[in-house]
């Protein structure tokens, strides 16, 4: 087995082609870096990952390179010796390698790398404005973190700092604080390699290098928001989040994006039940490292003032607010009466925005009333075509595809279909039964945009006498409803989504729903008369036991989700 020695610690690397940063990661040693990113090409421009590299010969002698090398650009092979600046904090239980005497020169191994890191940081900070108080990145800034860990506390710069003008017009969503940039060029490489649109470039030379766009070609592509996440410092700022919150107030919850069927893994940053920001979470099973702007900026619906926040009952043609304690028994009674009168005339619509657990509970309730009650799949929003990246200059997708924005704008069609198939043996689209004269209809929506639901409803649709609509926003359906129940966004519930490829990802709650709203899961509990707290994990175990395709959800679902069979 090929073995690499990181700070005297041997690590097996197997057949993987790794660089020093990755090999050190395997040995639990962190090598700081700005420009290196797994998903992008290597340029070794930031010089933050300088390490001392050598080779251990088969007879045990070690030959070291005379100079420090950038770890991200230096591949390792069997016998490679890597000494990082943190050599002093190494695992002391490992036997030290036989470093040559002329290599350390009276000091310690790793001294050169440590000094190189400090000098690199000093160089990066020469022209840095140090406006941490006004910078949005403060608190999660790699320049702050590394300066604290590896840098100096004083600057020896005596000249005027170079202060290029900011570029607030970089795009409609992104602003560039030019003077904070440390020229790692991650954003440039992203637009060239992942989105393929190549809007960004490096302009100028030396200390006058600037990130810039081509005149008249702003950074407008559907993946542009990722450059803000990629930026290790506060140079690229998201206008959507600018000055809204300080990052140390934000609570981060790992979730799944609900705006298309790719099901990107996300970090949801919220404070006091308001979602302020979404960031991509690395998940090789779902989407890789990035996410699209539709998802990234598509959380505002959850904070919208238009949302339904309490149950309403139509009396004399006007909606009146009503307490849950009154609404739930009324609903149960009216539904069971309708089922007894004509079970074929009762239909429940489960939208593809529901989690697997919610669809299972609601579906079980209706099938429990009578086997003749039909469950249908709510309108599945499809907008345009799948959008594949990278693109070439003419906007045509190029192979190999690195990112796909799906045309299907709902997160959980496959999960709801699996539940429907289990409960009634077939998936009936709502459009098939929409034109029938029904007695009662339960419409479990949760559509983030009212147009999504309305697009799937025929124009000559007649609302039945008993229509219960559970949705986020006023739409055709809620206007015709007798009962309107507030829906909850995916940030306000826990559950499981199954993406287009059959990857099931479970997620926790990032924010609490509005005070008087109840999640669909809680509603399922109430309708079924189940006692105790509504917990997704309990229902998930039941679903896994009942539906064979979803059986892998039985145990603890890993953070990256679990792949279901086809």
């Amino acid at each position: 087995m090929p073995t690499v020695y990181v700070n005297d610690k041997p690590v097996e690397i197997g057949t993987a082609r790794l660089n020093c940063v990755q090999a050190a990661g395997l040995a639990d040693t962190f090598v700081p870096h700005y420009c290196y990113h797994e998903a992008l090409s290597v340029v070794a421009s930031c010089r933050m990952c300088l390490v001392e590299v050598g080779e251990r010969k088969p007879d045990g002698t070690v030959v070291m390179q005379p100079k420090v090398l950038p770890g991200c650009q230096t591949p390792v092979k069997d016998g490679t010796v890597v000494v990082t600046g943190d050599y002093a904090k190494r695992d002391q239980t490992q036997a030290a390698l036989a470093y040559p005497a002329d290599y350390v020169k009276g000091g310690q191994p790793g001294d050169r790398a440590k000094r190189a890191q400090a000098d690199t940081l000093e160089g990066l900070l020469l022209n840095h404005p140090l406006d941490c108080p006004v910078c949005d990145k403060a608190g999660e800034c790699k320049l702050q973190d590394y300066s604290y860990d590896y840098g100096r506390s004083e600057s020896r710069m005596v000249d005027e700092k170079n202060q290029p003008p900011n570029k607030p017009g970089l795009s409609s969503k992104i602003t560039l604080f030019t003077d904070r940039c440390i020229m790692c060029t991650r954003c440039v490489r992203f637009t060239r390699e992942i989105s393929g649109t190549a809007e960004l470039m490096v302009n100028g030379r030396g200390h006058h290098e600037e990130i810039d766009t081509f005149p008249g070609r702003p950074l407008e592509n559907k993946l542009a928001g990722n450059v803000v996440d990629l930026c290790p410092v506060g140079a690229l700022g998201s206008k959507d989040f600018l000055y809204k919150q300080r990052v140390w107030y934000l609570k981060t919850v790992d979730q799944v994006c609900s705006r298309c069927s790719t099901g990107c893994s996300t970090h949801v940053d919220s404070n006091k039940d308001i979602v302020y920001r979404l960031r991509a979470r690395e998940n090789p099973l779902a989407q890789g490292h990035f996410m699209c702007d539709e998802g990234r900026y598509g959380y505002h619906f959850a904070n919208s003032a238009e949302r339904f926040v309490r149950p309403q009952v139509k009396r004399d043609g006007r909606f009146q607010p009503a307490p849950w304690a009154q609404v739930t028994p009324q609903l149960k009674q009216e539904l069971s009466a309708a089922v007894q009168a004509n079970a074929r005339g009762v239909v429940a619509v489960l939208s593809p925005y529901l989690t697997v657990e919610e669809a299972f509970l609601l579906g079980s309730y209706f099938k429990g009333l009578s086997a003749d009650v039909r469950l249908t799949l709510g309108p599945v929003p499809v907008v345009g075509e799948d959008d594949r990246y990278p693109k070439d200059v003419r906007g045509n997708a190029v192979e190999p595809t690195k990112f796909v924005i799906r045309a299907e704008k709902c997160p959980n069609r496959r999960g709801v279909e699996a539940v429907l198939t289990h409960l009634q043996g077939a998936v009936i689209p709502f459009a098939d039964v929409a034109r029938e004269a029904l007695d009662a209809l339960w419409f479990a929506g949760g559509y983030p945009e009212p147009g999504y639901a309305e697009a799937g409803i025929p124009s000559d649709w007649k609302a039945p006498a008993l229509l219960v609509a559970q949705d986020l926003f006023p739409s055709l359906v809620t206007a015709a409803a007798k009962y309107v129940l507030p829906g909850t966004s995916s940030f306000e519930k826990e559950g499981t989504f199954v993406n287009h490829a059959g990857l099931a990802q479970s997620f926790g709650r990032a924010a609490r729903p509005p005070v008087e709203a109840r999640t669909e899961l809680q509603l399922g509990y109430d309708l079924l008369g189940r006692r105790g707290l509504a917990q997704a994990a309990v229902v998930r175990a039941e679903v896994a036991g009942a539906v064979s395709w979803l059986a892998p959800l039985g145990g603890e679902v890993p953070a990256n989700g679990v792949k279901l069979g086809d």
């Binding site: 440590k114 000094r115 400090a118 406006d131 941490c132 108080p133 006004v134 403060a138 100096r152 506390s153 004083e154 900011n166 604080f177 600018l242 000055y243 809204k244 300080r246 140390w248 107030y249």
Partner: protein, 186 residues
């Protein structure tokens, strides 16, 4: 370690002698102190007619400092609100007006609830731009809770008032490293 019998020392009250039992010498002693106070220099402060002079580090009402151009110095970095143990500072940040060429961010609103505040001075300690300071104003009263919630204008007016009176010069640590800084690696 529990106490043992040897650790305990019993103390008896001293026996009263003849003069002690008379009580008169002790009374004379007490009267001597009283009479001494009657004819010595008066030390009572006649507040409110007579105002005390407070040390410059007295922690009274907050103020928001202005820069040379008369704009609020604060850059809405939320350090004071973060450091505040009583959570009495509420800031809303916004992009600075376009005519402020040297600034990107400023506090749209800056509110301190003077009733929640415990006057510990941590906000002043945390402020990286010397924008918030505690003054020697100590007599603040209000007829309602709302009156004691000071907004940005009120806090700036405290600055105007205290600088005009000359009681509180602006203190600055600009350019000095903090106590937590480390020497650079050699």
């Amino acid at each position: 370690m529990p106490l043992t019998e040897t650790d305990v020392r019993w103390v008896e009250a001293p026996k009263l002698g003849f003069w002690d039992q008379l009580y008169l010498p002790a009374m004379v002693d007490g009267l001597k102190t009283t009479l001494g106070h009657m004819f010595s220099k008066k030390i009572t402060e006649q507040y409110p007619e007579q105002e005390p002079t407070l040390p410059p580090n007295y922690r009274g009402v907050h103020r928001l400092n202005r820069d040379e151009a008369g704009r609020v110095k604060c850059v809405a970095c939320y350090m004071c609100a973060t450091a505040c143990p009583a959570h009495c500072i509420d800031i809303v940040a916004a992009p600075a007006p376009t005519e402020w060429k040297d600034r990107e961010k400023y506090p749209e609103t800056f509110v301190i609830d003077e009733l929640r505040c415990i006057y510990c001075g941590m906000c002043e300690e945390a402020c990286p731009v010397d924008a918030i300071e505690l003054t020697t104003l100590y007599d603040l009263t209000g007829a309602s809770r709302e009156q004691m919630v000071f907004d940005k204008e009120k806090l700036l007016s405290v600055f105007d008032q205290t600088t005009k009176a000359g009681t509180d010069p602006v203190r600055s640590r600009a350019g000095k490293l903090g106590a937590a800084s480390e020497p650079p690696p050699q």
